[in-house]
Amino acid sequence: MLKRVHFPTSALPYLLVAPQILITLVFFIWPASQAMYQSFLIEDAFGLGTEFVWFENFQILATDNHYLASFQRTAVFSLLVAALSMGFALILAGFAQRVVRGAMFYRTLLIWPYAVAPVLAGALWVFMFNPTLGIFPYFLEFAGITWNHYLSGNQAMALVILAAAWKQVAYNFLFYLAAMQSIPNSVIEAAAIDGAGPARRFWTIIFPLISPTTFFLLVINMVYAFFETFGIIHAVTQGGPGTSTTILVYKVFNDGFVGLDLGGSAAQSVVLMVLVIAMTVVQFRFVERKVAY
């Protein structure tokens, strides 16, 4: 935590932390406490006055079917994004790890989508799946599937999941590959001598050994799907059709900036904050185990 030896106390350390603390106070802590305060207020219909209502906003949320549906939708969305991108990354890493010399070459070819902004990922996929022009709808037509994510809620959901998962494969691949490469070769060789073939070795030796990484990535991917996919949703579906792709982060934005329901949006912010805190705690508790591994 602290060096055994340190510099004598003076005004200097305060000056050093001042910029960070100032920005934290002005742009993080103050707005967050404002959000918390506003979540206890309800504005009257004419925007003339506000009333302090304690937890009424939260009670409204808890009984709001739209909100609960959005919650459920976000859970499904996040789990599918995590499962899809982690599964794909796991398979690729499992094969890449077997290539002794080319592994780094494949890594170069696979990690760059990390650098693509979510909104751009959305734009790319929305173009590929454009109902009138896109490549995929054209081919899907032959399979007898009519693609129009502007009309079908399920297709819209599938599209944002694909776009979100695509972007995250790079990250998962990187961590899976690193985890697999840190397994001592002798363990793999011992399993081979015991007669386990490549597939069996993967599922009985490698996969269990990298389970801490799987858990770590699961948390990271959930956080990603919860908070960083705003751009994808905004570019691809804007939450629609209807509310079929309105995940929580999008709803906060929409209710606050478009719907101007300040109290309700603030209450949603507070719920999200609690979720982030929970995920951070899980992640940090896990980090200790990661170090042991």
Binding site: L2, T9, L16, A117, V249, F253
Partner: protein, 283 residues
């Protein structure tokens, strides 16, 4: 690989190459779209092979009127805005995190832990959960439509501070003692010893933060209303909306390509630093 069977080796490479194709497909299609003219891009099925309008599209996108029927800033200006924002965010984050990590590790002063926890809390407050009130603060400070407004609210960083703290903790105590005997004060020690020793960590973090800064979307979307402050990443959304009336996919996709080239280039050119940065900051 333990076995040396040609067939397994072939299968391995086959799967990997298919994987690379699957990952690269969306970008390939984007690239192809940027090499055809508007007419071709409005006929289904869309081409899968590049045409010859790449340079013309580039020229029109970068310096021409851009998308017809929209009031947009020229794309080169958006690129500059993005660059300015990305650089301000990344250097700003690194600078203030280095300073606060230095204070927290090398000084013992009242409220040290209080400051530490205050910085830690920022980890739990992503911009998405406090957009409205943060917007109000920035508006009240008159920072809307400015580079300051784009960057300053994003530069407090717990992860960067933690990373530097970790780096400083691995610097042997004897170096500080030695420097003190040599007569170096705190700032001199910071600049002469700590900074040079953290060089690669700073570079690795810079790569990550540059990408983070460049790819900002929601925040610039909220606080810039003036078209001259538009960043390239946020312009895509406006273009997509415009595409519903006049689908100039060649221009839209050229813009998308331009928007992703800088960060993708950074990742590929500085792969080692990028990997180091990712694994270090996510602890």
């Amino acid at each position: 690989m333990v076995e040396h069977r040609p067939l397994t080796a072939f299968l391995t490479h086959l799967v990997l190459i298919l994987g690379v194709f699957a990952i690269a497909l969306p970008v390939w299609i984007t690239f192809v779209a940027s090499t055809h003219d508007e007419l071709r891009m409005n006929q289904a099925p869309l081409p899968l092979w590049p045409g010859e309008y790449f340079l013309a599209n580039m020229k029109q996108t970068l310096f021409g009127s851009g998308l017809s029927g929209t009031e947009q800033a020229p794309v080169w200006l958006m690129l500059l805005n993005s660059l300015a924002m990305a650089l301000m965010i990344s250097t700003g984050k690194i600078a203030i995190s280095l300073l606060s990590a230095f204070a927290i590790v090398y000084f013992k002063f009242p409220f040290r832990m209080g400051f530490f926890w205050m910085i830690f809390i920022t980890l739990m407050l992503p911009v998405e959960v406090r957009i409205l009130p943060t917007f109000e603060v920035v508006a009240n400070l008159g920072m809307l439509n400015s580079y300051w407004g784009l960057s300053i609210p994003l530069i407090a960083s717990a992860t960067a501070t933690f990373m530097f703290r970790q780096v400083f903790l691995t610097v042997p105590d004897e170096l500080l003692e030695s420097a003190r005997i040599d007569g170096a004060g705190p700032l001199r020690f910071f600049f002469d010893i700590l900074l040079p020793l953290s060089r690669t960590n700073i570079a690795a973090l810079f790569v990550i933060l540059f990408i983070f800064g460049w790819n900002q979307y929601l925040w610039p979307l909220l606080i810039t209303t003036d078209t001259s402050m538009t960043t390239i990443v946020m312009s895509i959304k406006q273009m997509l909306e415009a595409a519903e009336q006049s689908p100039q996919w060649n221009i839209i996709m050229t813009t998308a390509l331009l928007a992703m080239i800088p960060p993708v280039f950074v990742v590929i050119a500085m792969q080692k630093l990028f990997v180091q940065g990712l694994t270090e900051t996510d602890k």
